[in-house]
Structure formats: C-alpha cells, structure tokens
Symmetry: C2
Subunit: 108 residues, 2 copies
DNA sequence: CATTTATATAAGTAATTACTTATATATTTG
DNA sequence: CAAATATATAAGTAATTACTTATATAAATG
C-alpha cells in the first residue's frame, strides 16, 4: 500500500510539466540516455539532470549505466502510488471502467 | 480529452498533502460545509478557504450555497484528467487491471 | 596522459506557495 | 438595524522550486 508521503512525492514530481514531459518521453522511448533527453529539450543539461534526479528519487524511473551514458527507463511500480490512490475513488473509477475495458479489448 | 494544463492543474492541486486530505474528506463525507472542514483541520480558516478555492479552480469540487453555509462535493469529472493521463500507461494499467476487477466485483 | 564526451554538483535567483493575522463581505437572527 | 456566524480577501513572510551559469567528476579515446 502506498503511503501518503509516496503519493505526495509522485504527484509533486509529475505535476511539473517539464519533468512530466520527460517522464512521458522516457515511457515512449522505452529506454533513453540523458543526452537524448537534453537534445530536444527546452532546458539546459543541468536542469535535465536535476529533473532526472527528482524522477529517480520519486521512484518513477530507473537508471542503467553504460560506459559514460546513463540510460533511463520507467520504473515498473513507479506509478503504483498514483494507481492505488485513484483506486479509492471507485465510483469515478467505475465510471471509467467500461471505457477502459473497451480500450483494452481493442474494440475502439 | 484532458489538456496538459488540466493535468498539471489537477496534479499540482492534489500534490499538497493538506489540500489532498481536504479533498479526501469531502469525498468521504459526500457533502460537507467549509466550517466542518475547518473544524478538525490543523490550519486556519483562511487557509482552508484558500485550499477550497484551489480545489474549485482545478475543477475538483463543486460548491452549493445554503444560507450562510457553503457545502462542497467532489466534482464528478474532477479526477478525469488524472484517469485519462494514467490511462495512457496501459502496460502498468493492465498490471493493475485484474486487481481492480476483483476489487470491483467484491471478491476480496 | 591529454582531450573529449556525458553527467553531476554548486551557487545564485526570480517566481511560486502555503501559511499566518487582520479585516472585509455575506447571511441569518434577535 | 445590530450582533453573530460563515466565508473570503488582503497583506506579509519563510520555504520551496525550477531554472540559470560555472565548474567538477567520470569514462572513453587518441
């Protein structure tokens, strides 16, 4: 079960648009080096490095060193606290449930 | 579909623990007046008022005036942006899907 | 070893935030 | 209308944040 602190940490981390965009990109690419993230980013290399640290500290990404590159991937359980928290709102959840079911079964 | 700005707004609003606790309480109670929230809160009445404004601005709660009381309820679509955003992570989503299904069917 | 490349850290800053106390604005009630 | 109650706004502040530029560290390569 996710603690309130974990939920706060994950939400705070993803609330920043720049950082969330980075997370989305890492998720899309599967795996990507920091350099790749710096290229095509509006912010400086140190800013990217700081955001990556924040994502890692929040448990949202994991890193793998390969020579002088560090590759980032989404941490499998990283979004867990968010899923858990949303799961408590079963009425809203249920409302979305059918849409989700259709989505997963690929009928649309 | 939820815009990036809406997602940012909802996440930023819920990332604050005090404010998120207020949202959770409103959800739990179904409907509750501001006074009720002030009682049993660690922060001052103005702080509660400011947080309620933030929740309302983010589309997370709706208010209903009754005399000099203002009652708050969770906005039906308020968490929508969060659900939508999480929905994009289908692999993680799917991982939780079965648990959720069990939960909703009340088998545990 | 010297240079280049990849990433991290340091230090500074403007903007934002989450509070506070004090006061203003409704709304009801005697 | 005057007093009481419910909520909002104003103004100030300490802490946090998201950047920047400059510099340090780490690893590969000539």
């Amino acid at each position: 079960m996710a603690s309130a602190i974990q939920i706060t940490s994950v939400m705070k981390t993803l609330a920043d648009p720049t950082r969330r965009a980075m997370f989305e990109r890492i998720a899309r690419e599967g795996e990507i080096a920091a350099t790749g993230l710096v290229r095509g980013s509006k912010v400086s290399q140190p800013a990217v490095s700081q955001h990556l640290r924040a994502l890692r500290d929040a448990g949202l990404v994991i890193e793998r060193r390969d020579g002088r590159h560090i590759h980032y991937r989404v941490a499998p359980k990283g979004l867990g606290p968010l899923f858990d928290w949303l799961g408590h709102y079963q009425n809203f959840w249920q409302e979305r449930f059918e849409n989700l079911e259709r989505l997963l079964k690929g009928s649309e």
